[in-house]
Amino acid sequence: MLLSELLGVQVVTTDGDELGRVHDAVLVQDGPMGAQGRAGLRLHAIAVGSRSLGSQLGYAQGTVQGPWLLRRLLGRAPRLLPWRAIVARDGQRILVDLSRISEQE
């Protein structure tokens, strides 16, 4: 799977609600980089939202804080959906089951 296959894909819940598109993904580094073995970067969650500019620039993720005007315009945080919530996936849409994450949030 390539990252580009996830980006921009529509996300829909099993109840039929549209959540927006995939704008970013959270990777978690669970071991030192470059070490042998299975440690490395794992995809834990996808960031989903209706607008892409904020996450492209870093306002949505929170790493960019200023200037004030841009933060106000672009700072809306995306919704993070754990990889486990994904039920089905193809190039057009990703189907997520929100009940799979509720117990953890």
Partner: protein, 137 residues
């Protein structure tokens, strides 16, 4: 935002912090941009996809851009790549030493696939011009 359920360890935003970043090899040479990220899907349904490689080069870039421009780039890439394998250049994730303002690699990047174009331009054009081996100082 509560990220606890995402697990311990350093968090990296794939698009913000990985995609489109500069690749730098161990000698400090600039060897390409991260044009795409390759994952290995888990066999076990509860597992998580793991990053196996960073893709760099025109093919991966074309794929990532998409649309008209992407198609044009892809066509250019196909023409350039007519005599070699069609896959975009891969940088194994094992070679990555650090993810910072650039992606630092622990290998010598000149032999990397991403530098095929660089080597071609160097050998076929630049080396033919007198003085190519001189530093501008």
């Amino acid at each position: 935002m509560s990220d606890q359920h995402l697990g311990a360890g350093r968090h990296v935003w794939a698009v913000l912090e990985l995609l489109d970043r500069q690749l730098v090899d161990e000698t400090g040479r600039l060897v390409g941009k991260v044009d795409d990220v390759e994952f290995e899907l888990p066999d076990d349904p509860d597992g998580l996809p793991r990053v196996t490689a960073l893709l760099a080069g025109l093919g991966a870039l074309a794929n990532h851009i998409g649309g008209d421009a992407g198609a044009a780039l892809a066509a250019a890439e196909r023409r350039l790549a007519a005599r070699r394998d069609q896959h975009p250049s891969r940088v194994d994730i094992e070679a990555v030493r650090d993810i910072a303002s650039a992606i630092e690699l622990g290998t010598d990047g000149l032999d990397l696939d991403t530098n095929r174009g660089e080597r071609w331009v160097r050998d076929v054009i630049i080396d033919k011009i007198p003085g190519a081996r001189h530093a501008a100082e």
